[in-house]
């Protein structure tokens, strides 16, 4: 009997084979899915990290080239910080009525434009650049400490000398420490008897009565100052800078202490103090002349670029004040508000910390407040202190300049009617460090990366805070990375730009003619 062999699978074999096959297929699919998901996740993470890296490099670019504030490759119409101000607009930083007719610049306004407007006149007959030297084949010394012999010798004792009259900005000049013009001659120990302070703390006698000054019976004696001092001791500041008195011997100044401490002093009390003013006469460098170069440089730097730029272009030990003939009140000029670096906290440069209308250096100016470069695309509500709420819709060009010496108060001012320091600080941060998208357009599911570099002066330090934020629309995750960066300063950024459009190249090869810059006369 012949048996026929069936060539097939049994049902059980088939079931096992199908089950195993399904497992294999499932495993393969699962493996593929996992791999695919991994790739997708990795791709997404890679994209996010790549965008973060791009944000980092963009922040570094802004730190080194200031492109968030001024793009030199753009048309002038797209460079708001390159404009000159309206001469009729007092809110762009006029210092006094005499300056109202003068145009003013912004941080990226070319000096050349300001020169043609008379903001920064070039003194005729004064060579503008030191002769460059060649050492070891390289051109060196294009920024040299100017030897005073560089200038024509003084012809007289007055300030018409070319040395004093050289007030045009010179990018090759470095405010050398040995140049006496770079120093305000100030006797910081010359002070008045602190009459105002006596109003707050009075010495008491045995009968608990206020002790008055024997020479000034209407003044009370401070317990820390029982000795008698004259109201003015060596003058409040022995400045001899007087830009409005060129060519004449410095007149006798009548100096009063704390001339504008309080509006209350402006009436009867001030009249009384005027009777006790002490007259001083200056005699000194060069010889009984008036030192005009320093205040000219200061005032014209303000006119040229504004207050924050002033702090950067002047050496850090500058004292922001000078005398003028406009007022005989020593450290202030005309009007109730117009100290040269006056007190009015909505308007002027000097902050009101301490309540003194006194000449200050950069630290004193910037430890309770800050001067920032505000992004021109930030909301244009420049009324900084007190901050308006809602922000005032001021968006005209004429106010652009004032926004660049905006400030906040960081001291213990708890009386701010608009909500206190946090609000001021937030205002300041969001205007100086306006977060702007890295990409104008992007797929909706892509992370959004924003970059900002905030620049401001705080406690005498020129600070640049870079920040990158990345928001994921898929997960809602927000990551922020910020650091204090070191990079190009404003003066350096101006040297990077042509007065027209584009980047200025610099080289120290003697055979190369370097491009003019925003600082070129």
């Amino acid at each position: 009997m012949t048996r026929t062999h069936a060539s097939g699978f049994t049902l059980i074999e088939m079931m096992i084979a199908i089950a195993l096959g399904m497992m294999v297929v499932y495993t393969a699919i699962a493996g593929f899915r996992v791999a695919s998901q991994t790739i997708t996740a990795a791709k997404r993470l890679s994209l996010e990290n790549s965008l973060l890296r791009s944000g980092y490099f963009e922040a570094q670019r802004q730190l080194d080239f200031w492109t968030n504030l001024d793009d030199p490759t753009a048309l002038d119409t797209e460079r708001p910080l390159k404009r000159t101000g309206n001469p009729a607009d007092s809110s762009i930083g006029a210092l006094n009525s005499r300056d109202y007719s003068m145009k003013r610049g912004l941080p990226f306004t070319p000096m050349r434009a300001l020169q043609s407007e008379g903001v920064w006149p070039k003194s005729p007959g004064v060579p503008r650049f030191a002769d460059p030297k060649t050492v070891n084949g390289a051109r060196v010394g294009t920024i040299m400490p100017r030897d005073l012999s560089f200038y024509p010798p003084p012809t007289s004792a007055n300030s018409n000398d070319a040395l004093e009259a050289d007030t045009g900005f010179d990018p090759s000049y470095s405010w050398s420490p040995h140049d006496p013009r770079t120093w305000i001659r100030v006797d910081l120990s010359g002070k008045e008897r602190n009459w105002v302070q006596q109003q707050y703390v009075r010495n008491k006698d045995a009968n608990n009565k206020d002790v008055t000054d024997p020479l000034y019976p209407d003044k009370y004696v401070h317990p820390d100052f029982p000795e008698h001092f004259p109201l003015v001791y060596n003058g409040r500041y022995i400045l001899f800078s007087n830009p409005e008195n060129s060519g004449a011997a410095l007149p006798t100044f009548r100096i009063i202490p704390d001339p504008n401490k309080s509006p209350l002093l402006l009436d009867g009390a001030m009249a009384d103090m005027n009777n006790k003013m002490v007259e001083i006469t200056y005699s000194g460098y060069p010889t009984a002349g008036t030192h005009t170069w320093y205040p000219h440089q200061m005032s014209r730097l303000i006119n040229a670029m504004g207050y924050a730029a002033l702090c950067e272009y002047l050496p850090p030990n500058s004292l922001y004040s000078w005398y003028t003939l406009v007022s005989t009140r020593g450290d202030r000029t005309e009007g109730a508000w117009f100290n040269k670096f006056g007190m009015h906290h909505d308007f002027e440069f000097c902050n009101d910390n301490g309540g003194q209308k006194s000449a200050r250096g950069i630290w004193r100016q910037t430890y309770p407040s800050s001067y920032g470069y505000i992004n021109p695309r930030a909301p244009n509500d420049f009324n900084v202190y007190p901050a308006p709420d809602p922000p005032s819709p001021v968006a005209t060009d004429k106010n652009l300049r004032q926004r660049f010496y905006a400030r906040y108060k960081s001291d213990n001012d708890t009386t701010d009617p608009n909500g206190g320091n946090a609000k001021q600080l937030n205002w300041f941060i969001t205007r100086t460090g306006l977060q702007e998208p890295l990409m104008v357009e992007r797929p909706q599911n892509w992370p959004e990366v924003k970059v900002s570099v905030a620049r401001f002066i705080k406690s005498a330090h020129h600070v640049a805070v870079a920040k990158i934020s990345r928001f994921s629309p898929m997960t809602g995750e927000l990551i922020e990375l910020s650091w204090t960066g070191l990079g190009t300063t404003l003066r350096g950024a101006r040297q990077q730009r042509l007065p027209t459009t584009g980047w200025a190249h610099w080289d120290n090869d003697p055979g190369v003619t370097n491009d003019p810059t925003l600082d070129s006369p």
């Binding site: 390289a138 140049d179 070191l486 990077q496 610099w506």
Partner: protein, 325 residues
Amino acid sequence: MLSSPARRGTILIIVAGVSALLASLALAFLARMRSDTEESQHLLQYAQAKIMLAAACNYVQESSRLGWDRYPATPTVDGLQIHDEAYGWVDVRDGTTGPKGKRVSGTPGFSGPELADLSANKWPSVGTHVRCPMYRMKRPPYAIKLNAGHNYMVTDNPASPDYCWPLLKNRDPRPAQDVDNYPDFAAGDKTPVVDTTGKAWFRVYRDGPGTFIVTCGSGGSDGFKNWDELSATEQLQFNSDRPFFENLRNAEVRLHYRIEWSAAVTEVTYHNLQHEIARATEHYETWPPNASHTWSSSRRTQTWMKNPVGTIRTIQRLIIEPSFW
């Protein structure tokens, strides 16, 4: 026969296809990771180079006054070299090119001891450079311990003769590592810590009396500009292998800046001194550096702004590599 050749071929194709798919995914993944790593490496190098900018600025500031020996020979007292203090890259006394030593009494002008041969074609003369490859030393010169409290007061043992006495029994600060003698303490151990060399460097070219070209680099060239600049001895550092050096150089991040140093060190605010005039002591005695800004008599100290090594007045990132750096 359990399977036909066609069936085997089908399975092979499926397996090969799935494998190829997985392999391509893996490859894409690896390629992306590599790309990310390379970009991250570039970012890391860039960050390191920017750190070198800060290091270079610090170097320019500090060496405006510190770190100089007398030229041509440094005097010693008791076997220790006497280091001089300079008066700035631009001498604050007369505006001449520094660094120069302190004025010698009776000497005309400001001609003090020379700290360097400024007429020579070597650092720190104008037109010369200094190269500063950075690494971490095992123990820097004059390293001290960072912890404080070497003279703590005994307060837990009333029987101790030192109980509650503020005795200064130990030197404070103390050397970072117990060394046998002062020269060891002064010399430190400059051996590089492993993996800290070849990372970053800066190089300072004196462009003028107070201006400098700073080049910041991240990579292994140690700040040599090109192969031609290396002496035969220096070439040994790179195995005398020019392509090797050039590979290192080409993989670097190099950033060029121009900076200006100023002797200006602090600010002068009249009012900070105003309240000290009628007092018997000097301002710095009345309000030492750690005085706080409290209100009562408006206590302030100028030393908040004390900065004895000058200021970097301006920094400019150069758009193109300068010819001399």
